[in-house]
């Protein structure tokens, strides 16, 4: 016997019964809430009248500023509703209170008086996402991705020994922090549904990064254990035959180590290479093997495309993949096959290729709708959720 209600619930989005209120801007906080929105949570983003600053980050189509069509805002905010409130005003805070009464989760980035909110909304899971946490030495201090990476990450061992270390690019730190904070929010939700009590989760960018793998925490514990710190390494310190190789239409990355060199030899099928390396697997650092390898392998790569090389190598179990530029990502046949690319309607930004679902399961995450225009849902949300229609 099929229980219809159960069947329906199963097919719905995993978090379709959850309401998230977000009072946050830029990347880390908004991405926290967006990941929950991807899973079907209703996410109400509170913005000041000027909007989240990412509405001005762009890029914009044809370079024309448009606060409702900023690429950065789209990426971290699609699937949400936008409500403009002046949280400095009594009307604004009254409306926020009314929304919080309907919410299970509040994501904020340091602007709210959380102790006061907790007293009035004990059921709420409140997730604060700030660079240094809401208490302690750095509370309230500003940071950027690069600053957080310098403190929490493995930045000191990046780059070459004769040059400065460098940062990651993009918004990789804040985005990772957002993913950690969404995970924390989910844990808080499970606890609240079990015990009826909310909690205040305090996520510091620098700590989320410092506690993560596979560089930050391992290097930190490695130092604690061994007394040896991670150092900048000379280029190609890992040596051939691993690393990045130019090929006919770009670059590939080969991960080759120890006994997997056999798979490389099987793929390349070069008698000379077999002769020098075949009997001393793992010992490619011998000068004679190295000389032949440096000659044969780049030539073999240069004669083939990324796709050809990847297919040949992978058929022998050799871990070689395309190394793409950002624009090449969009046309990568392996990403396409994996469902990693999704063509979405981004509203006034037009059609864009964005990442496909982060994981696949019935009711799992998906791109739901374009990012909201500034205040697009103010009236409708307040009319629906705020008693006496405060506006």
């Amino acid at each position: 016997v099929v229980d219809v209600a159960v069947e329906q619930l199963r097919e719905e989005s995993l978090l379709s019964d959850v309401v998230v209120v977000e009072v946050a801007s830029e990347v880390a906080g908004p991405f926290t809430a967006r990941l929950l929105a991807d899973l079907g949570a209703r996410c109400i983003k509170i913005e000041p009248s000027g909007g989240d600053p990412t509405r001005r980050w762009g890029p914009f189509r044809d370079d024309v500023e448009d606060i409702d069509a900023s690429g950065a805002f789209l990426v971290w905010n699609h699937g949400k509703e936008s409500v403009v409130l002046d949280l400095e005003s009594a009307e604004g805070t009254t409306a926020l209170d009314a929304l919080l009464a309907h919410a299970q989760i509040l994501v904020e980035d340091g602007r709210l008086d959380v102790d006061e909110l907790r007293a009035r909304f004990p059921h709420l899971v409140i997730v604060s996402v700030t660079p240094f946490g809401r208490e302690g030495w750095g509370a309230g201090r500003p940071a950027t991705d690069a600053v957080a990476y310098a403190i929490g990450g493995a930045m000191s061992s990046t780059g070459r020994p004769d040059r400065p270390p460098y940062h990651l690019g993009g918004s990789l730190i804040q985005a990772f922090v957002g993913s950690a904070a969404a995970t924390a929010a989910m844990a808080g939700l499970l606890a609240a549904e079990d015990g009826g009590e909310g909690q205040w989760i305090d996520v510091a960018w620098v700590e989320a990064e410092a506690g993560s793998v596979d560089r930050s925490a391992p290097y930190l514990l490695g130092y604690i254990y061994s007394g040896l710190e991670a150092l900048q390494e000379p280029a190609r310190a890992r040596g051939l035959p691993g690393g990045s190789y130019p090929c006919a239409d770009g670059n590939v990355v080969a991960s080759t180590y120890g006994w997997t060199i056999r798979r490389m030899l099987d793929t390349v099928g070069d008698p000379e290479l077999d002769a020098v390396l075949g009997e001393s697997l793992g010992n490619v650092y011998r000068p004679v093997g190295r000389e032949v390898l440096d000659r044969v392998l780049p030539a073999w790569m240069a004669a083939r495309t990324k796709e050809e090389i990847t297919e040949l190598a992978q058929s022998k179990g050799w871990a070689v993949t395309p190394s793409n530029t950002v624009l090449e990502v969009i046309d990568d046949p392996f990403l396409e096959e994996a469902g990693a690319l999704e063509r979405v309607d981004a509203g006034r930004l037009g059609e864009l290729v964005l990442p496909g679902p982060a994981f696949v399961t019935p009711g799992g995450p998906r791109f739901r709708r374009r990012a909201p225009n500034l205040g697009e849902h103010t009236e409708i949300v307040l009319a629906e959720l705020v008693p006496d229609g405060v506006t």
Binding site: F60, Y166, L172, A175, V253, L327, A340, L354, T361
Partner: protein, 446 residues
């Protein structure tokens, strides 16, 4: 019940390898789940646990090789003294069973009946090879959640093998970091996939557990590690499409901000990061610098103008920072409200007031390392402490409890499984390679 550990009572069978999957399951263990590493005496996972031995030559020549081993000594059993192993083993239990044999497979299926979650990130074909596909597992336990985390995909051309660096390059992460004067192939790897799989996998499992609590039904989840990672760089993917061009290697510059850099200090090879998020940060920086004449140029009042003069700004700022220590630069700019930090090395982090003031490091007793500090949890909560029971787990350490209490096997069956080689606390190769007890501290083997 500790609401900081809402997964107490949730049992997870952990078939994960290397960093990414084990990080995901460790997050669940931190939240109270009973995570059981299902290991095998027959198969040494060298990509997870590192080399089995270190030659005396390696030990003497390569300092860096020893980084990460307790007291810089891999000992006779390096996998029990390794930071890279411990950093994803916190709070877990370990049992041994050889899944390649029918007798071991049956043990695993018995465990599945008593578990809530199975997670794996092995080669795409492994579960089929072991005849442990979703249908088989689900037949034993309708509430089961199976999380599969292939690098890219499970089927067809997407079933590629490789490590994080392969797939980070596939989605172009190294293409937008690094020194501007070097070609793509010379840029350093980024190492972001393991971290993102950890949080993404844990989030997926919890969302599914929540649903299973209501419906009594589990599910299969396939998390493409690469696709999941792409969400963290989707801004770059979007920007390339909107602008029609690939990003440059920015060095320590920034696509939108200026000044933004990593500047030298008075101490050789010590650096300080300074970033201005907006015009206000810039005017605060200028005030902190003492309103130098070069900063008075009206063009510099806007981000656009500063970006045009990025190289000049960097030169002036570097001249200022290189006369001071990083700490002095930090003091001045923190007071001014400008984002700043010296680039911390690992020793700096241990005593850094950020981590000390929030009591971030954990202290735990390790069987070989003794009492040590450990990197802390990724968040804190008013609900209580996240779990920090044990800093590592060694092969088969919990066999007794798991075979007796979880599986409920009688002594006869346990003895049989022990004779068959399933149960034990040493790898088989240890018995053939090295007949005597290889207790730790013996220096480099082989």
């Amino acid at each position: 019940v500790n609401p900081a550990q809402p997964l107490a009572g949730v049992r997870v069978l952990d078939l994960c390898v290397v960093f990414s999957g084990p990080f995901a399951s460790m997050i669940l263990a931190d939240l109270g789940a009973d995570v059981i590493k299902v290991e095998s005496r027959q198969h040494y996972p060298d990509t997870t646990k590192g080399p089995r031995r270190f030659t005396a030559k390696a030990v003497s020549m390569l300092d860096n090789t020893l980084k990460g081993y307790v007291d810089a000594d891999p000992g006779a059993r390096p996998w029990n003294r390794s930071a890279r192993v411990d950093v994803v083993s916190r709070n877990k239990r370990s049992m041994t069973v050889d899944l390649t044999r029918d007798s071991g497979r049956e043990v695993f299926l018995d465990l599945v009946e008593r578990a809530d979650v199975v997670m794996e990130n092995n080669a795409p074909g492994l579960l089929s090879k072991l005849r442990l596909e979703w249908d088989v597992l689900r037949a034993r336990n309708r509430r089961l959640i199976l999380l599969r985390m292939p690098a890219l995909g499970l089927h067809g051309r997407a079933a590629l093998s490789g490590v994080g660096s392969n797939f980070e390059a596939m989605v172009a992460l190294p293409s937008f970091r690094g020194y501007p004067d070097l070609p793509a192939r010379d840029q350093q790897y980024t190492f972001r996939m393991d971290a993102s799989t950890g949080t993404g996998g844990a989030l997926a499992v919890m969302a599914a557990l929540r649903r299973a609590r209501r419906t009594g039904e589990g599910r299969e989840i396939v998390l493409s590690q690469t696709t999941n990672l792409m969400h963290q760089s989707a801004d770059v993917l979007m920007a390339a499409q909107v602008t029609g061009k690939d990003p440059d290697h920015p060095g320590n510059g920034h696509v939108r901000l200026a000044p933004h850099g990593c500047y030298p200090t008075a101490v050789e090879d010590r650096w300080v990061v300074i970033a201005c998020r907006d015009d206000d940060d810039w005017s605060r920086l200028v005030t902190a610098l003492g309103e130098p004449a070069w900063a008075a140029d009206a063009e510099l009042a806007t981000m656009e103008g500063r970006r045009r003069h990025e190289a000049d700004l960097d030169e002036h700022i570097a001249a200022w920072t290189s006369e001071q220590t990083g700490a002095a630069v930090e003091d001045v700019l923190v007071a001014a409200g400008v984002p700043v930090s010296p680039v911390l090395r690992e020793p700096d982090k241990i005593d850094h007031p950020q981590f000390v003031s929030r009591d971030w490091f954990l202290t735990m007793d390790h069987p070989e390392a003794g009492r040590r500090r450990y990197p802390g949890h990724m968040w804190r909560t008013t609900a209580g402490k996240l779990r920090a029971d044990r800093p590592t787990t060694t092969l088969g350490q919990d066999n007794d409890d798991i075979y007796r209490e979880v599986l409920g096997y009688d002594e006869e069956r346990i003895e049989q499984l022990r004779r068959e080689g399933h149960i034990g606390t040493r790898y088989e190769f240890e018995e053939t390679d090295d007949p005597q007890d290889g207790a730790s501290g013996g220096g480099a083997g082989g």
